[in-house]
Symmetry: C2
Subunit: 105 residues, 2 copies
DNA sequence: ACCAAGGTTCTACTTGCATCGTACCTCAAC
DNA sequence: GTTGAGGTACGATGCAAGTAGAACCTTGGT
């Protein structure tokens, strides 16, 4: 029903949760791709080419969502994942640029 | 014997390891304190007020060392911990500033 | 010479986390 | 309306990580 879906408040984003989320290579790859996408672009969970079972993939997006890194819009069929660029740049300036600039490690 | 003690090469510092290291609150606190210290200042492991057993404390400094975040000089009695500010700023610009600016979360 | 304090290593325990399979839901397409 | 694909939730499992205690080493201070 196009709800905003379980994300923390902009002011509640915690550095520990963000760093834990970004410590995982798969999740970091998702964020890197989103950073380098056009601003506000919406992608589905499967579009990142993660080589994982779909339950594991869903889990990782839940972590990203609960850490406050992405918004996820329920479109019934698929789900629209967007980077919370504004909130993140405001709270952790330079972080997204850093993630986006890394080649793959 | 004042050896340089098990640190990765400047070019070998990996973002994943750094983020994993910083995901832990205790380790993040150590780095935050070091960032806000005078440049190149050397501190002992106990000087950070970590409420942990000394074996656990030693473990955390090993993680920081192996991730490339700190150098540790063996002075026999105590140990001199220093932040690898130059290497880190060069490789991950903005990261240390980010950690240093966080109050405590 | 002794003792206390700072560190490291080893071992062990416990918790957390990544992973997957299954079941279930929603919608788009045929 | 049935099927298939995208997602979520739950339960189970296996490995990684945080924690601490004990034994040991080194050195500064008494």
């Amino acid at each position: 029903m196009t709800s905003t879906a379980s994300g923390v408040e902009p002011g509640e984003i915690e550095l520990g949760a963000v760093l834990s989320a970004l410590a995982d290579p798969h999740r970091r790859r998702v964020i890197r791709d989103l950073v380098n996408d056009a601003d506000g672009s919406e992608r589905s969970c499967t579009s990142f080419g993660l080589d994982l079972s779909k339950s594991t993939r869903s889990h990782h997006f839940k972590v990203l969502r609960e850490a406050g890194l992405v918004h996820q819009v329920d479109r019934g069929n698929r789900s629209g994942v967007t980077l919370r660029r504004g909130d993140l740049d405001r709270r952790f300036p330079g972080l997204l640029a850093l993630i986006g600039s890394q080649s793959s490690d």
